[in-house]
Symmetry: C2
Subunit: 320 residues, 2 copies
DNA sequence: TCAAAAGTGTTATCCTTACACCCATGT
DNA sequence: ACATGGGTGTAAGGATAACACTTTTGA
């Protein structure tokens, strides 16, 4: 047994590390029309982020403080994403290890831009291969697929099969369908294969078709946020955090399509929304939609506590 | 804008905190027959846990090291749960804040017990109100419901409605059905209401019907782990990590029931499992099952990479 | 013989998917 | 008139939930 057999024993003679920094990093998402956007700094190469400090009462409040300081943007909905702390993450002097506790925040873009340094960036700028709304992105067939093939081919025999399978599953090879939730797995595969600038080996690094690189592992954190959001819109009414107070069903569909990176079936989408009872008519209509005026809807906030439930999926008991 | 405008700027003049400790804490789960068990230390009041150290290459490996040190148990499947760091979490001298990065691990109990200090505990010992396999637990009607009613009643008028609603949703009040996934919400509600020992106000603290208390916020972490596992068994084939190499469908059902805390419908459960193609017959049968000998099955590990997919739930495009 | 668990078969219902079609507006 | 988006109806297929019933063992 180690020198610190359990958490409540007081003999904490060995303190963790020489230098250890804890960062709070935020993926703040908004939707503008059919564009999914993320709040970024320094012309788009970094996410809002700062060290956890004594003055922060909780992780949540610390994150809010940093984002408001750096972007002038007050946050609504936030949730924790993941905590990263791999060794290779940092090579800064005086810091042995940097832990990054990341959060996902949903909001609406406001009129005032906030701090000058903060900009809203279309997130497909970082992941061009993730937008399938106008069909399979060209970069997939032109650049990614052939280079991943080479990467698998070059691997030692024992690994080759495994790599091929991972490629097929994450990138919809061999007749498989595209799964929009695998954002992180795809990014990590590209990272391993050395196809993104952050991989370090800068052979292929300068390739602009592989998306804008980001500082540190911020692009990985962004991928985590997108993946979480894409998964979550399917079973929790989180899209509404991104919508204005009233909206048409088509605007709502455009927003979901923007996030999912996929086109949706209009009629079935409408049925799905209405059947779930998440929205109600405001009684007004929006003109100038390009066609027939559309009814405006609002989100039924009152339903939220109820609808946390969702489906069971397990065949519950009865007789036997 | 703050003194540290962005993560890549080098003016890191203000370092985070005076004293800051980062702990790795593990919820290690196994199933023995119809008992869901968690690996605990010190007679069951603490989870395996230890500070993150320089020698740990990654968070994962650090966690594995601590668990193996403290319990002698090597781990298979693990996943990150959540990172806790609220101020009130710690009142230890010399430490201003303790961050706890928690993990969920799934394994099978091995023959050798590992370290003498480590024991496998039925997790319903900590959450007696979570086991509905033999109907609604008595503690709910007898103790929890009346005391929660009082707690809501005593609240200022503005809060009363909100408290009543939270109670109804999490504890299946007002005709609602029990949602087994709300483990954490229920524990946090009981904590707020001062009904568990960890709340601090030790009026009701000593009540043994409210489950065994744990050190620090370990019971909260355990609740997080149980909730995650209960959610995950529905859409990922994680149960098999807890099963022996071959098993009968009834044993599998018992395991899922143990985790979910609910009885399942036998025939429909079998159909669900078989239809998903997750198992295959070994060709052998288990005798001495208490009845007719049952076919033995094994998990099809080869299907894992495939089945990461699961259902779409969004009405994907077609014509319009 | 009976309890306990293993299995098979069938039906009603609901949700999802897909298709077809009409309505109202602006250009 | 026609393009664009709004909106309704409905039928096929699959998954789920619920019931009823037979089979095989050990005590």
């Amino acid at each position: 047994m180690g020198a610190r057999p359990n958490p409540s024993s007081p003999d904490a003679d060995e303190r963790p590390e020489g230098r250890l920094a804890v960062d709070l990093t935020a993926v703040i998402v908004a939707v503008a029309g059919d564009e999914p956007r993320v709040l970024a700094l320094q012309g788009g190469i970094a996410l809002p982020s700062g060290p956890l400090q004594s003055r922060h009462r909780t992780l949540h409040s610390g994150l809010r403080a940093w984002v408001e300081d750096q972007t002038g943007h007050a946050l609504g909905y936030i949730e924790q994403l993941y905590t990263f702390a791999d060794r290779e993450r940092t090579r800064e002097a005086a810091i042995e290890r940097r832990i990054s506790i990341s959060y996902l925040g949903l909001t609406r873009e406001r009129g005032d831009a906030g701090a000058a340094d903060a900009t809203w960036c279309n997130w497909y700028r970082y992941f061009p291969w993730e937008d399938w709304r106008r069909g399979p992105p060209a970069v997939l067939a032109r650049r990614i697929a052939p280079r991943l093939r080479v990467w698998a081919q070059r691997a030692p025999t024992v690994l080759r099969r495994n790599r091929r399978e991972r490629i097929a599953v994450t990138f919809a090879g061999g007749g498989r369908s595209w799964n929009e939730e695998f954002v992180l797995q795809r990014y990590e595969l590209l990272w391993e294969a050395g196809l993104v600038a952050e991989s370090g080996g800068d052979r292929d690094a300068a390739d602009p078709t592989m998306g804008t690189p980001m500082a540190h592992d911020h692009r990985r954190i962004l991928a985590t946020g997108i993946a979480r959001l894409r998964a979550k819109i399917k079973y929790r009414p989180v899209v509404f955090e991104l919508m204005p107070a009233s909206f048409t069903l088509f605007q709502l569909q455009r927003a979901v399509e923007a996030l999912a990176g996929q086109r949706l079936h209009k009629q079935n989408f409408r049925r799905l929304i209405e059947q779930q009872g998440l929205v109600e008519e405001t009684g007004k209509v929006a003109t100038a939609t390009g066609g027939r005026p559309a009814k405006l809807f609002r989100f039924r906030r009152d339903i939220v506590t109820e609808r946390t439930a969702a489906g069971t999926k397990l065949p519950l008991y009865r007789s036997d």
